[in-house]
């Protein structure tokens, strides 16, 4: 096109012709305008797009806390309390609305916001219709739907088979009780999953409404059998579940894949040893195949779950690999939950070291993962735990962390407990293996305190590392962190910090000496401060007091050192242990410098009381340096005996 225009210009044709020629040439090229198809957008798509531009700011507290320096919690218990307090406020609002429902009848919004309307209360006398039952099942209100169902039955209202089936399924899923409401996100977040990996406690309610409905149901449809068996397996009522299963088999009632999955999961409860368990599992699978049922992800996860604690680790590992291959052939991609079980099977505590984690991470890297099974949330925690304890591998841990932060994968961290455990393992692993400066700058200062608050054990490891490396410049910051995290009363941490400060005398600058003295004084005053009436109070032993004394003396802070000495002296009965002789010697030196011999004599008195043989040499030195007059000399002689005649 450009060539044409140039030639036209050279020929000197008028403008109009040129433009018309250009237009003609362009028109022939694009005569079809393609309007792209409209992409249907969901109601939250715009918000999600905006949200993806906002990352996590590690220097700021979590969004749920008020952005006010006084109201930002920095200790782990503080965070929990603040968040739960907010939720408690929400619950209080719910309660008020329920109590005074008559005050909340206005419907200002159009369309009406269902969530703000006071909830209906269903009692024995309520006028209910079948539609109510439907709505309640949809809203997952178990207790209310049970009440409504009973009322309907009493009034002999006809309830459709499908609706009854729905009710049965709801009851089986929830074990006839309500769960935590969906609104209370914080409660779910902080709910410490106290059930262990293999909780084998039976919690199914025998004889409750679910079983009643099932027994009254005629005819017994396959769906109802499936529902009741699944419910019983979920809540570990295995005897009845197996019995019903056999009943269904006899009556040739076809079951579904999920029912078989739930039975496979509970195989370890039904049988006792590895061979029997595995044969039962294989039985279930063959029955599934004979009933022409298609296995799904649930099947894979159920098998892996059962294998992870079936016993006989070597054979279990073989079966795990075989299962993975089998389901790969069926085209079912394992979810994170499956990998979680694989890790459990291969990386047992008391077993040989297995590097399967490397292969798993290779497989999962750089991909965004969705939640497909409830156990997916356990993956990251366990992977980090294995990287730390089992393999002790920093590069692997870094890869796991990268995977966690890729895209939306952070959602799969589970709840707050799992998050804290994950970071605990990550921290400990890096603390042990990275050079201290890198650790402090890249990891500690970034994650602490807003993303993760280290526990006592982890702080102890960090302090250890600081001590080993002699990196005393971090001590003031670490001490203030200890105060903020509410860990300043822990004896082992205080001991560690004092040791570090005392032992690394050569490395300190004058500013550091001053700050060390301040820290020591802080420790001291915290321990004697009785006003707050706290449960945890640090009881300083003689040794610790001695170290505090050393630090104060190095700073030449005579007044405070005297106070500490007084405390040592006066509370000899209540204080456990005695300080090291170096501490006392340094104190005496300071007394000599300050020319206060009375204090020195008191200290030497204390030394002799404790039974230090060096008291004599201290007394001699005191006399030599200060040239004591008669009164003092007499006192001193009373304390140590006559050592001055020899000098």
């Amino acid at each position: 096109m450009m060539n044409i225009s140039k030639t036209l210009l050279r020929r000197g044709l008028p403008q109009a012709n040129i433009t018309s020629n250009i237009l003609l040439s362009t028109a022939t090229i694009d005569d079809k305008i393609e309007i792209p198809k409209r992409i249907p957008r969901g109601p939250t798509d715009i918000l999600r797009a905006l949200e993806s531009t906002v990352g996590r700011d590690p220097t700021a507290a979590h969004y749920k806390y008020h952005d006010d320096p006084y109201l930002i919690p920095l200790s782990s218990s503080g965070k929990r309390i603040f968040a739960m307090a907010q939720e408690a406020g929400r619950k209080a609002a719910h309660w008020v609305r329920q109590e005074h429902a008559d005050l909340f009848q206005h419907r200002e919004a159009d369309p009406v916001i269902e969530a703000f309307v006071p909830p209906m209360v269903y009692t024995e006398e309520s006028e209910v219709a079948v539609a109510d039952l439907e709505k309640l099942i949809e809203m997952r209100q178990v207790v209310d739907s049970a009440v409504v169902y009973r009322v309907l039955k009493e009034k002999n209202v006809e309830v459709a088979q499908e609706l009854e089936q729905g009710l049965l399924e709801l009851l089986c899923y929830q074990n006839c009780e309500d769960g935590v409401s969906e609104e209370f996100v914080e409660e779910r977040w902080f709910r410490q999953a106290s059930k262990g990996k293999e909780f084998v406690k039976k919690t199914w309610k025998d004889g409750d409404l679910a079983e009643q409905i099932f027994s009254k149901m005629t005819p017994k449809t396959p769906e109802s059998y499936c529902a009741i068996i699944q419910g019983m397996s979920k809540y570990r009522q295995m005897d009845s579940a197996v019995q019903l299963f056999e009943e269904a088999q006899k009556s040739n009632i076809p079951l579904n894949t999920n029912t078989y999955n739930s039975l496979i999961q509970s195989v370890n409860m039904i049988k006792e040893n590895f061979d029997m368990r595995w044969s039962l599992l294989a039985d279930f699978l063959t029955q599934m195949k004979n009933s022409n049922l298609k296995p799904n992800l649930g099947t894979l996860n159920a098998i892996l779950y059962a294998l992870s604690f079936m016993g006989n680790p070597k054979r279990a590992k073989e079966y795990v690999l075989q299962t993975l291959a089998e389901f790969k052939n069926l085209g079912i991609e394992p979810s994170l939950g499956s990998w979680y079980y694989v890790i459990l099977t291969f990386c047992k505590e008391r077993g040989p070291v297995s590097t399967i984690l490397h292969d798993i991470i290779n497989h999962l890297e750089d991909k965004e993962h969705q939640i497909r099974d409830l156990k997916d949330t356990h993956f990251f925690v366990t992977a980090m735990e294995m990287a730390r304890h089992h393999l002790n591998d920093v590069a692997l841990a870094r890869r796991i962390d990268k995977l966690l932060n890729y895209g939306d994968n952070y959602n799969l961290i589970g709840d707050s407990y799992k998050e804290s455990v994950y970071f605990r393992h990550y921290f400990a692993l890096l603390c042990d293996n990275l050079p201290l400066e890198e650790f402090m700058n890249d990891v500690y200062f970034k994650l602490v305190p807003h993303i993760y608050v280290p526990e006592v054990g982890i702080m102890a490891e960090v302090l250890n590392q600081v001590d080993v490396n002699g990196a005393v410049e971090y001590i003031p910051k670490l001490w203030s962190d200890l105060i903020v995290f509410d860990q300043s009363h822990r004896e082992n941490l205080v001991d560690c910090i004092l040791n570090t400060m005392v032992n690394n005398e050569q490395l300190v600058t004058p500013e550091l000496t001053e700050s060390f003295a301040k820290i020591a004084w802080d420790i001291y005053s915290r321990s004697i401060n009785e006003e707050e009436g706290r449960v945890h109070r640090l009881n300083l032993t003689g040794d610790l007091l001695g170290k505090i004394l050393i630090l104060l003396v190095r700073q030449k802070d005579f007044e405070k050192a005297c106070k500490v000495m007084d405390r040592l002296d006066k509370n000899q009965q209540t204080i456990a242990g005695v300080p090291k002789i170096e501490a006392l010697a340094l104190f005496v030196d300071l007394c000599i410098e300050e020319k206060v011999p009375s204090r020195g004599i008191d200290c030497i008195q204390y030394c002799t009381d404790c039974g230090f043989p060096e008291a004599n040499s201290l007394a001699v030195r005191l006399h030599k340096e200060l040239n004591l007059d008669e009164v003092f000399l007499e006192r001193l002689t009373k304390v140590v005996g006559d050592v001055f005649s020899t000098s």
Binding site: T221, Q230, T257, L285, G331
Partner: protein
């Protein structure tokens, strides 16, 4: 005193004690046998009882010895804390001694010695041997292996002694540090029980990364891969619905920014959906065309007279209803039909007052007849 020193000497001590014990038992046995000719049963029993007693005594002695050993360590430890300046000398002495004494490694001699002792005691050889070894190892090691306390070894070293330690940590140094560590161990254990022992179990071993092919093994062979006609069986709708809800809840965290909070609220139907659509919530109304709202005269057709006050009135009613945006079409139709019923009831009155003419009446009657049929 160095641990190693004591260990290397221990077997001899134990050996001596047990040789003594053994001699004594043998003597007693010989005495018994000599007198056994006289009274068989009694002496045999006596013999057995005495033997048992002797072995018990032997065990007691062994236990005492082990206890004294541990006590020794404690006292030697405290001395160590103060006597640090004499490190080099003691260390060199010990190095020489170590080299002289042990040609075989200390552990091997230990095991052999324990074996011999166990055999000489008689009874359950393996158990006694393992008990002995356990006791020794307990005292020596505590909770940490030598390797992982590198940290603590390094900590304990003062900087001016670096040249001495730099030459390589002798076993003596390591053991001393372990003993020092033991004194601190009880205090720390409470707080760091799990992480500490776990880190002890995972020393810096060189883990060889062997690639395990995740999907490469032979399949179980239960399911055949290419069957596409299988289903998952009967569907539990409510169950699946509840499970999906649970899955979603598992990934719902407290919102970490305002956008996430708005997303949550939108899903809970508390706020408008983006892009804002004025007619959100009015989906039912969209299905009804606007003419149904506006042109309501068609409901008047069958029954309403064409002229007269009733018609006027009903037309006004229709106009009013057509301008009413708050009622559905059905409601409006209901209104109009209500009027029809009402006028039907009041037919007599209307006729008397003359509101209805005869001609119009026909329609009403016709309608009545129709409704009767």
């Amino acid at each position: 005193m160095s641990r190693i020193y004591l260990i290397t000497h221990l077997p001899n001590n134990i050996k001596n004690t047990f040789h003594n014990v053994r001699h004594r038992t043998l003597q007693k046995v010989s005495l018994c046998t000599s007198s056994s000719s006289s009274s068989d049963d009694d002496t045999k029993l006596q013999k057995k009882v005495e033997e048992k007693k002797k072995s018990k005594e032997a065990l007691d002695k062994l236990n005492k010895l082990l206890l004294t050993m541990t006590e020794d360590d404690v006292s030697s430890k405290t001395k160590l804390n103060l006597a640090q300046p004499t490190n080099k000398r003691q260390k060199k002495l010990r190095e020489k001694q170590d080299f002289k004494e042990s040609k075989a490694t200390p552990t091997e001699t230990l095991v052999n010695a324990a074996n011999n002792v166990a055999e000489s005691i008689g009874g359950d050889v393996k158990q006694t041997q393992s008990e002995l070894l356990m006791k020794l190892l307990n005292v020596a090691n505590g909770d940490a292996t030598v390797n992982t306390n590198l940290k603590d070894l390094v900590k304990g070293m003062k900087i001016d002694q670096e040249s001495a330690q730099g030459a390589g940590l002798s076993k003596a140094q390591q053991v001393r540090q372990i003993l020092q560590e033991q004194s601190k161990a009880p205090r720390r254990k409470g707080d760091m029980a799990k992480p500490r022992s776990k880190s002890a179990k995972s020393p810096k071993r060189d883990v060889v990364v062997e690639k395990i092919s995740l999907f490469g093994s032979e399949p179980l062979g239960i399911f055949s891969p290419n069957q596409n006609d299988l289903t998952e069986g009967v569907v539990n709708k409510t169950w699946n619905h509840l499970y999906d809800k649970d899955l979603k809840l598992a990934v719902t965290h407290p919102p970490s920014n305002y956008f996430q909070q708005m997303i949550l609220w939108t899903e809970q139907k508390k706020i408008w959906k983006f892009p804002i659509d004025n007619e959100q919530g009015l989906e039912e109304e969209k299905k009804v065309y606007f003419t149904d709202h506006v042109f309501l005269e068609k409901h008047l057709e069958p029954w309403c007279p064409l002229k007269g006050p009733i018609r006027h009135f009903m037309e006004l009613v229709c106009v009013g209803l057509s301008k009413n945006p708050y009622l559905t079409v059905e409601a409006k139709k209901e209104h109009v039909l209500w009027f029809r019923e009402y006028f039907k009831d009041k037919l007599e009155l209307l006729q008397e007052t003359g509101a209805i003419q005869e001609t119009d009446l026909g329609k009403l009657h016709a309608d009545q007849k129709q409704s009767e049929h």
